[in-house]
């Protein structure tokens, strides 16, 4: 059984495809591993937007009782603002609300209701109090993906010019505010 030579070459090339594919992936992994050792690549940051970068492009429609906002609104700011992702179905968000209520006089807060029905989110804010000056709704969670949140609640401190200055994937508490957020705010106001 003899096959024409050009056919054999094609066959050989085809059989080498898996090896080539594995090699490419392998080199990628090697790059990642060496990046991890030098600190330039951190897989645990994959889902978090990079700090000290501008906020991603997005826009969220109005969520009663507030008004929606876009990336442009954040970038036009001259004062720091806290952006908080919350949801009525999230127990830690409920627990976090009193802390946010206590902070709202010192720092303006904008909220995004994540994967939540507008009426549920409105009801939630009615019961737990509303610390937010502006409110948007991210019903399908797309904006959450753009921001790279891993769950709710997540909080971002946005500096003047719409730069992400700080990020917390856990509910805020008084200790964190005192030890981390307050000093950061001071330094932002000075600069």
């Amino acid at each position: 059984m003899s096959t024409p030579p050009e056919n054999t070459t094609r066959r050989r090339l085809l059989m080498a495809v898996p090896l080539a594919g594995a090699a490419v992936v392998g080199v990628g992994f090697w790059k990642m591993l060496s990046g991890m050792q030098h600190g330039s690549f951190n897989p645990h940051n994959i889902n978090a937007p990079v700090l000290n970068r501008p906020v991603p492009d997005f826009s969220v429609p109005d969520q009663a009782p507030g008004q929606g906002f876009t990336a442009q609104d954040l970038r036009a700011l001259t004062q720091p603002v806290l952006v908080n992702f919350f949801a009525s179905w999230c127990i830690p968000c409920l627990a976090e609300m009193p802390t946010l209520m206590g902070l709202k006089d010192d720092l303006p807060m904008w909220g995004i209701a994540y994967k939540d029905r507008p009426e549920n989110a409105a009801g939630f804010l009615k019961h737990s109090g509303n610390p937010f000056t502006r409110l948007g709704n991210d019903h399908d969670g797309r904006v959450g993906i753009d921001w790279g949140i891993s769950g709710v609640p997540e909080t971002f401190l946005i500096g003047p010019g719409g730069i992400i200055r700080w990020h917390s994937a856990a509910p805020l508490d008084v200790d964190t505010i005192r030890s981390t957020l307050a000093p950061l705010l001071e330094s932002l106001k000075k600069s």
Binding site: P18, A22, G26, F29, M32, P43
Partner: protein, 661 residues
């Protein structure tokens, strides 16, 4: 006597024996020297004995609370119950690698013991490949993750185990899952041996298939057990999170499923040979990459083991040798294998090819979804997350044709079939699926779940019909049908049962998309309504436990005024670890789970309120029940005489192993 040093020594001995096992039989097979080839079984058994001794030493150190061993000090404590002291041995990185090596050793010894009817050169090569892989991982264990390392001064008590992991489901999840992963090393070794010999024939397909089916059964059970654990322990009512670690087990399952189907074509029609060899290599490569990349910390996961990039480099080197080496051999040798003939699209083999195409596309989608975030981050410095919406949108359109053809496949004859007679035999299944579709349209919301449920009914009915048709049920006296059923090969029943199991799992998954839940913050005495049930929180009290204090709620669930169940969801605070766990309370009647979780306590001490999370999960147990049924189907087909009896020219068994393994 079973000191950690002895264990360390035994591990080093196993590594040397494995290296010898990986080299000598290959030389023997190359020179056709029978005496050298005959070393293989002895070395494989010797390696297994050394590994067993090593493993026993580690278990002994854990049971006797030897906190001078770093691994024990970091993961165990005096107060830990005995069961978890033993199972905790494989609950950490070092111990789990040792377990991994042990299972690989068992595979090698099993081939040595039960592969007596294999041609001696093939057997020597298979054992050698297993030995070489084992040597690599034992070297990894010795050099970068020594489970026997001592600490000085030894602490008085260990740091204890994460309380979330103190659970019987999780205790037995790793050995079963690893047996599935590692079991695919045997088909892999067969593939490499066949490439070395340059020969793949029907007999090869027959030898390799029982091993693949056995590994597949374990992997199926392992995945189901892991999913069940996350359902009842994590307390979020979810069962699958598309987390990289979960995907890492799903990927080899998909290619492994393709493998056990394509090997049938090799066996019956001597076709798809190169493809099957590639699948055998791919399945084990995915098993390896999955388990080990998770440990290198590249994949971002909630299941993380302690990560260490230095370890990662070793792993990557090892993967490059094993996977790269085998694929290079494939690229070199596969073109010389004779290709099988073409065949008609409408035939059993045509259906099996379609099965392979769809399963491998599904696998490609899952691989893409898993690897996309780190590669995007590496190449374009862009951060994205890929989650449930992506996987839902991409896997369902591929799964739907798979389910449709699952109904036809087993009924099509080999070589050349006609669709019409098969359709005539399946009209009842099609009718029932149509009726189911109409019924589900009223009861469920969302097109994909309705369609998938109807297809699940189709798959189950056509599996039942296949058997009914073969035994000529109702077309001849019942005693005659029973007689025919007894004569029918068990693998036919195995196929039907496994396919029906898939249908049951799909029904469970589709029904779960209709699950209802509610989160409330209420004082004691409140009644909530969910899914036609009245849930009353009657009491919450503190109860002390052995190494925790628990807040236990009493939740009475009524349906139409009659009490259905009294549930006691609780929340445990562990004093030593400063950690809390939620103990979910689940009441099931096999058609639906009532699932209650107690959350935080709010309000003042005088008027406390409690957060409650209530779920109504229809058909939830079916997801795991279906997986169990799939594994039972696989086991049944393993017990088939045709699987045990070797190729015609070899009269006696080649693999009774797998029935007992």
């Amino acid at each position: 006597m079973l000191s950690p040093e002895l264990g360390h020594y035994a591990l080093a001995l196993a590594c040397i024996l494995a290296a010898a096992q990986g080299i000598l039989p290959l030389i023997g097979a190359q020179r056709r020297d029978r005496r050298v080839m005959m070393l293989a079984p002895g070395l494989a058994v010797g390696q297994l004995l050394a590994l067993l001794a090593s493993f026993l030493c580690l278990v002994n150190a854990a049971v006797t609370d030897d906190f001078s061993v770093q691994n024990i000090a970091a993961n165990s404590a005096v107060s830990k119950p005995l069961l978890y002291k033993i199972t905790g041995v494989w609950g950490n990185h070092e111990g789990s690698i040792l377990l991994w090596a042990l299972i690989l050793g068992i595979c090698g010894a099993a081939v040595a013991a039960f592969g007596r009817n294999l041609p001696s050169a093939l057997r020597a090569r298979v054992i050698a490949v297993l030995g070489a892989v084992a040597a690599g991982f034992e070297l990894f264990c010795l050099t970068t993750s020594d489970p026997f390392a001592r600490v000085w001064p030894a602490p008085m008590d260990g740091q204890g185990m994460n309380p979330l992991l103190q659970d019987p489901g999780l205790a037995f999840h790793p050995p079963i899952l690893y047996t599935g992963y590692v079991g695919f090393a045997v088909p892999f070794a067969f593939a490499i041996a066949a490439l070395m010999e340059g020969r793949v024939d029907a007999a090869w397909g027959r030898w390799v298939r029982p091993w693949a089916v056995a590994a597949w059964c374990f992997l199926t059970c392992g995945i189901a057990l892991g999913s069940w654990w996350s359902y009842y322990v994590l307390g979020w009512g979810g069962y699958w999170f598309w987390d990289p670690v979960e995907n890492a087990s799903l990927i080899p399952w998909l290619t492994g499923t393709a493998l056990i189907h394509s090997a049938i074509v090799v066996e019956k029609r001597e076709s798809l040979k190169i493809w099957t060899v590639l699948l055998a290599i791919a399945t084990f490569s995915f098993s390896l990459s999955g388990t080990f990349l998770v440990r290198s910390g590249i994949l971002n996961s909630v299941h993380a083991f302690a990560n260490d990039p230095a370890r990662g480099i070793f792993i990557l080197g090892l993967l490059a040798v094993v996977i790269g080496g085998s694929l290079a051999l494939f690229a070199y040798r596969a073109p010389t294998l004779t290709a099988g003939g073409l065949f008609a699209p409408v035939s059993r083999e045509g259906a099996l090819v379609l099965n392979n195409i769809l399963l491998c596309s599904l696998c490609a989608v899952v691989v893409t979804g898993t690897m996309y975030p780190p590669f995007m981050s590496l190449l374009f410095d862009r951060t994205i997350s890929v989650g449930k919406p992506f996987f839902d949108a991409t896997t369902i359109p591929l799964a739907i044709p798979l389910f449709i053809f699952m109904g036809f496949g087993p009924m099509l004859p080999w070589k050349r079939a006609q669709l019409w007679p098969v359709l005539q035999r399946l009209w009842i299944a099609a009718l029932l699926a149509g009726v189911a579709f109409a019924v589900f349209t009223f009861g469920m919301s969302g097109i994909p779940p309705i369609l998938c449920s109807a297809l699940a009914v189709w798959v189950i009915c056509s599996s039942v019909l296949d058997i009914a048709d073969r035994v000529r049920l109702f077309r001849m006296p019942l005693s005659g049908s029973l007689q025919r059923a007894r004569m029918l090969p068990r693998s036919i029943f195995g196929t039907a049962i496994a396919h029906a199991g898939v249908g049951i799992t799909i029904l469970g998954l589709a029904a779960m998309s209709q699950a209802q839940h509610k989160i409330v913050e209420v004082p004691v005495g409140t009644t909530e309504h969910l899914a036609g049930y009245d849930w009353t929180l009657t009491d919450v009290k503190q109860e002390p436990g052995p190494n925790y204090t628990a807040l236990v709620a009493t939740l009475e669930v009524r349906h139409n005024g009659k009490i259905v169940t009294i549930m006691h969801p609780s929340k445990r605070s562990f004093n030593s670890q400063n950690q809390t766990t939620t103990e979910v309370s689940i009441h099931t009647n096999l058609l639906a789970d009532l699932y209650g979780v107690l959350g935080d306590k709010h309000g003042t001490d005088a008027a406390p309120t409690y957060v409650l999370r209530l779920h109504y999960n229809p058909l939830a147990p079916w997801m795991w029940l279906g997986a169990l049924i799939m594994a039972i189907g696989g086991a049944l087909s393993l017990s088939d005489r045709r699987m045990r009896v070797g190729a015609p020219r070899r009269a006696k068994s080649s693999s009774d192993t797998v029935t007992t393994a």
